[in-house]
Symmetry: C2
Subunit: 744 residues, 2 copies
């Protein structure tokens, strides 16, 4: 066993140690007075109630998926039932990442509010440390999980058989490792979409009954749905984003490893260098993200955004520099993947390209959604003639905002391919994701600061406290927008890396649109993001109605609730919202999981000369292209509507007149913001996971639908092929034959 391998889980352990220490530090901070901590406790309880309800449902899903995976691993060539272990660990780690994030966010929010009583510097320190706990936790779990499972599977499948790093045994080891990614990403789907439906249902429900019917202010603790609303912010912005990036991070590394196996090299690491490089870069990214957090410091009256940028850029720059030396040290000078030759320096340039693409897309996203910039201003101006023109303007901004990111992405694909082939496309994604820990720290800081502001308001803290949290919150809005851009860019590159890995495992050499079934697959794939979005958007509407019913019931039935003497049943609202969210998620979730299986297995042997794997490739291409476009369109339209509405808070000049909150144009902008809510927080971000999950499912089933040069060997012969897997007990010829028969 190569010693270097052990470095990888070690990076993960260091990150988790950091998480534990910093988490303890945050917990030690002052949670403020009784009123503050009571509100915070309601939110924390609600968040845990949500997680409990969600994980219960997901447990059933995990069991069903495990049975299917066990069956696939059992009957399939180049696979193993051990994939179930990887799958379950991936699912549990993803859930754990969400748990860690939610837990720290619901602690840091109130402590940030309290810290803001002292100074801006201290408030930033608490909120950002909360974010860093989340970021390091996610990255640490990912690297620990991937690294130790790889060591185990490498030993079990490859080393025991004395096989090489580019052997078929290694293909099996990596196929089994894909289960980890599948587990992570399918939990992420529920976390992101369920969370998205949840938060918007609670938001709309709380407003409709509380503000409109009962006449109590927003964020009033007497409203049973208010806590759900605040929980929702954590569920959507913290846990959802965390699960999303955890999934991307794992999938990217894995796809690069799968592609790396196809590169036969002679190096000092048993030929493993192309496989372990992405894990090492990820480990370095964690290390330098930790160092980067040291730069996030601000003085009273200082620039918070600059402090965050300093932290971000230093970690990015250090990782880039370090990856130069790692690549130089680890990799042989020239490599060849699928006939495309490139150098180790090409790999380094691919890392740089990934970093540049991620940065550019973040900047473009900020431009299209930032207050004071032309796109948001155009929406503000068109609010003067009512809600209809406001909506038209927002839709137009969202659609237009697809242009530049797609051009950057297309250029990134072409250039990273040029410098290092398909391995370059994958490593560009890996490079971009290397500092995920820092990205998440910055992303999670936003909702923590936002919550802190809310708690400060509800607890009637002094004015300067609110002013300090407002500074943090404003920066948080910007980081939320750039974070979404980063998430989209990473999902797109990750999907492409998975796509390339799928092609290799599935044994196809082209995905040729010239073939009618592949073109038909492209159409079907392109349609899925539209249908998925439609389901997610309409689910928010239905779930909000369920919330309204429950809040009305509590107001009616709980004595003393309006006087503040009866305690509202927050958990009921949380459960209602969760239940509705999970139920509404079934159909879209099923589409993402089942379509690749239907196409991959259902179309096997249906068309002469066109394999089902190639058709599935067409479907994936369609999903990826339409999914990325719909993600950008919906996220940016929603973000722009939101900030158009916020522009009225400071007043805007329309046709020579200053318009403020409460004016007719402002009311029109509120309508736009409401339309944008499910766009930016439910359907838009779900697109990321949709495209990744469909690619991962395809990658998992790839060996089972693979096009082989020779027909599949009879079950008896197969054992020899799989030597190392030692599935001595598993030969059940009648089952296997039946299975094969149904495929023809």
């Amino acid at each position: 066993m190569q010693t270097i391998l052990y470095a990888i889980p070690a990076f993960g352990l260091v990150a988790l140690l950091y998480t534990a220490i910093k988490s303890a530090w945050v917990t030690r901070q002052d949670p403020g007075d009784l009123k503050m901590s009571t509100i915070a406790r309601y939110i924390a309880e609600g968040a845990m109630a949500f997680l409990k309800a969600e994980y219960k449902v997901l447990a059933y899903f995990a069991i069903i998926a495990s049975i299917f995976l066990f069956y696939l691993g059992y009957v399939g060539e180049k696979s193993s039932p051990i994939i179930v272990v990887a799958f379950l660990i991936g699912a549990v780690f993803s859930a754990l990442a969400g748990f860690i994030g939610m837990r720290i966010a619901t602690k840091a929010n109130v402590r940030t509010a309290q810290a803001a009583r002292t100074s801006l510097s201290k408030a930033l320190n608490v909120s950002f440390t909360g974010g860093a706990v989340m970021g390091m936790g996610v990255a640490g779990l990912a690297v620990l999980g991937l690294g130790s499972l790889f060591i185990a599977f490498y030993y079990w499948f490859v080393q025991r058989a004395g096989a090489s790093a580019s052997s078929e045994q290694m293909e099996v080891a990596l196929e089994v490792l894909t289960g980890f990614s599948l587990g992570a990403e399918s939990i992420a789907l529920f976390a992101r979409v369920g969370g998205g439906i949840y938060t918007k249902a609670a938001d709309v429900g709380a407003d409709l009954v509380g503000k409109v019917e009962a006449g109590i202010p927003e964020d009033d603790p007497r409203n049973p749905a208010t806590i759900a609303d605040n929980v929702g912010d954590n569920v959507g912005d913290v846990a959802g984003m965390g699960a999303d990036l955890f999934g991307s991070y794992v999938a990217t590394i894995l796809a690069t490893m799968v592609l790396g196996r196809e590169i036969t090299v002679t190096d000092n690491f048993g030929g493993l260098s192309p496989i372990i490089l992405p894990m090492l870069i990820a480990g370095l990214g964690i290390l330098f993200s930790m160092i980067g957090t040291l730069f996030v410091r601000v003085k009273e009256g200082g620039n918070v955004q600059a402090a965050l940028n300093m932290g971000n850029w230093s970690s990015v720059a250090l990782t880039a520099v370090a990856s130069y030396f790692v690549i130089d040290w680890l990799m042989p000078e020239t490599l060849t993947l699928r006939g495309y030759a490139f150098t180790s320096m090409g790999i380094f340039w691919a890392v740089i390209i990934g970093l540049v693409v991620g940065t550019l897309i973040s900047i473009i996203t900020e431009y299209y959604t930032a207050m004071g910039k032309k796109p948001v201003n155009s929406i503000v101006q068109q609010s003067s003639t009512g809600a209809a023109t406001n909506i038209i303007a927002g839709l137009s901004v969202g659609m237009m905002s697809t242009a530049l990111p797609i051009i950057v992405l297309a250029a990134g694909i072409v250039f990273s391919y040029a410098v290092a082939g398909l391995y370059g496309v994958a490593i560009a994604a890996a490079g971009m994701m290397a500092t995920t820990a820092m990205q998440l720290a910055i992303d999670a800081f936003g909702p923590i600061a936002d919550n802190a502001g809310g708690i400060a308001e509800m607890s009637e803290l002094p004015k300067e406290v609110r002013e300090r949290t407002d500074i943090l919150d404003a920066v948080g809005n910007t980081t939320a927008a750039t974070g979404k851009g980063f998430a989209i860019a990473s999902a797109a590159l990750t999907s492409l890396a998975l796509f390339a890995a799928f092609v290799g495992i599935a044994g196809i050499t082209t995905i040729d649109l010239y073939k009618a079934p592949v073109l038909a697959g492209l159409f079907i794939g392109g349609m899925i993001p539209f249908v998925f979005s439609a389901l997610a958007i309409s689910a928010v509407g239905r779930a909000a109605m369920a919330m309204v019913q429950e809040v009305r019931r509590q107001f009616r039935e709980i004595p003393g609730i309006m006087e503040g003497t009866g305690k509202p049943e927050y958990d009921k609202c949380v459960a209602i919202s969760t239940k509705a969210a999970i139920r509404e998620m079934m159909l879209p979730g099923a589409i993402a999981l089942i379509v690749p299986i239907l196409v991959g297995f259902g179309l096997r042997g249906v068309f002469e000369e066109v394999s089902s794997a190639e058709i599935l490739g067409g479907v994936l291409a369609g999903v990826t292209v339409a999914g990325v476009l719909m993600a950008i369109f919906q996220s940016n339209a929603g973000g722009a509507w939101d900030n158009a509405k916020k522009s009225f808070e400071k007043g805007v000049l329309i046709n020579g007149v200053m318009e403020y909150k409460g004016s007719e144009p402002h009311k029109a902008s509120v309508t736009g913001d409401t339309v944008g809510d499910p766009f930016k927080d439910t359907s838009g971000p779900s697109m990321n996971i949709l495209i990744k999950l469909m690619s991962i499912v395809s990658l998992v089933i790839a060996p089972h639908i693979a096009v082989r040069e020779n027909p599949q060997p009879a079950p008896e012969n197969r054992l020899d092929l799989e030597g190392a897997a030692e599935k001595v007990e598993k030969v059940a010829p009648e089952t296997t034959v039946h299975y094969l028969a149904t495929q023809k």
Copy 2:
């Protein structure tokens, strides 16, 4: 020369004769009293003013495009400057088709209103005959133009050289003929998008100033923009749809011809049968459309929809039966295209598949946009909580409505390919388009009836007149929805046929998404419909503002305008709207025309192993998939919003309460309808032309970017290759060499 060839333009002449006779009949009908004819005259004058302004601008465009085409034809191998002639005839014929349609529609509207004084039967007769004049005119011009140009080019390029039907000379002849399609489609782009911006700008502008500011009723002749509004209905619904289908009709036939050339057959028609089959089927479709019009008859109190269906189905069924015999008579029993063998009966089945796909997509479109059906009802119900939920519901319906049409389309691609290869995909499109004349007759009948109702209202005709026109108008709303579905389906299949033809001419054998630049092209292509839609939608907003300024000026400056003694300058409004529409069209139009040229020529030789033609193929696939999706999404969302609003006219039950016009939910639905206006009448339908035009531009430049087995011969040698073209004068080596040099 094969005698059968002369039958084709003969079909066209018969159709034009029909047009002339029926047009004269409509003109002879009673135009009603002075008030009616005055209103009608205003509309007719406005329509002509629009055409005049539009055609003036388009003349400049035609000149610039002609210069570029002349240059391409001059320097290009396998091309000829004669393409300019085809281009100009195509452009003029397309303009002529729009002219005929507008002219008859603005005559038939008032005469339908007058006829409705007598009976429903007479009103249907006048309005449907008006539609039929348009339909036959469009189809007749298309078949006459294509048929006679083909005869001319066949003689000039092929017969004089004694070359065969599948020779390179024939390739040149068809390449030159593509110019006709390019001319038709580029005029269609302006007619559809310019018209769409125009009509919505006038609509919004007239309402904002007339109803809101001046307090005069809708459709009041004192409002200078009212006529523009009524003109807009004709411009958008009659001329726009006509130009769109004229373009699809021509492009489909042409694409099938180009593919047909690649099939080498021994038949009784000099090997021409696969080339002339689509023209013959189109000719038959005209004949049976004429016969079908005889079935469109209704008694007082009868079912108008049933009468239209009777006419439609009889023409479709007769054409299907006739095409069986024509195929059996014309085609050899077995054919092979690009290695795919199929039978003549396979071709017949492809025709049937095309008809089924078109019908199914029309039915699905109707379901998603019809009053009383579940999708529209869901929007109605969600209007109860305001404009935001109404908008969310409509967006959701629009996105969801992409699922079934795409599945039908994908199945159509696969099945038509299975029965007759790529020729089958093209002939399916041709089969679907065969009865375009009847489709257009039914489509154009709607806006004529709509206008008739408006004229009846404005002229204060007796109540029963309005009741009769209302019956026709209601049916017209349904035919408008199904017509849009048909237009989208035809555009999609047409684009695929063009796509297949492009691949052949460009000399590529794969469009492989596995290659990074092709995948990047797919992303770029997919983004274009989003950007195009954004431009079209925001153009409506800007153009409406210009209209508002002009109407305000006239109210201020023209004495006696409000008393009815001063005549409003309708033509100024028309010119303003036209000018704005044309100006706003420049950028989206340029994108459609220039992107294929940039990709095709700009990326020549940039990538080793990946030709620019293959990348352009990726771009086209992206445009087609995203364009079809955005077309369905936007058209259906807009249609559903419209009918959700209309549902309130008869009253709807929401939460147990009947809600009518003027209620809060109704007001919310009006906002949705306004958002839907540019969706369904501007950006949505423009997608059809966008995808077709980009495919045609690619087909035109295909021979110039083609991948050749051998490098391009030096200019001196080329003359031999082109023998028949006799470009004796044209050798200008220094220019040519310079041109070639810039390409490397």
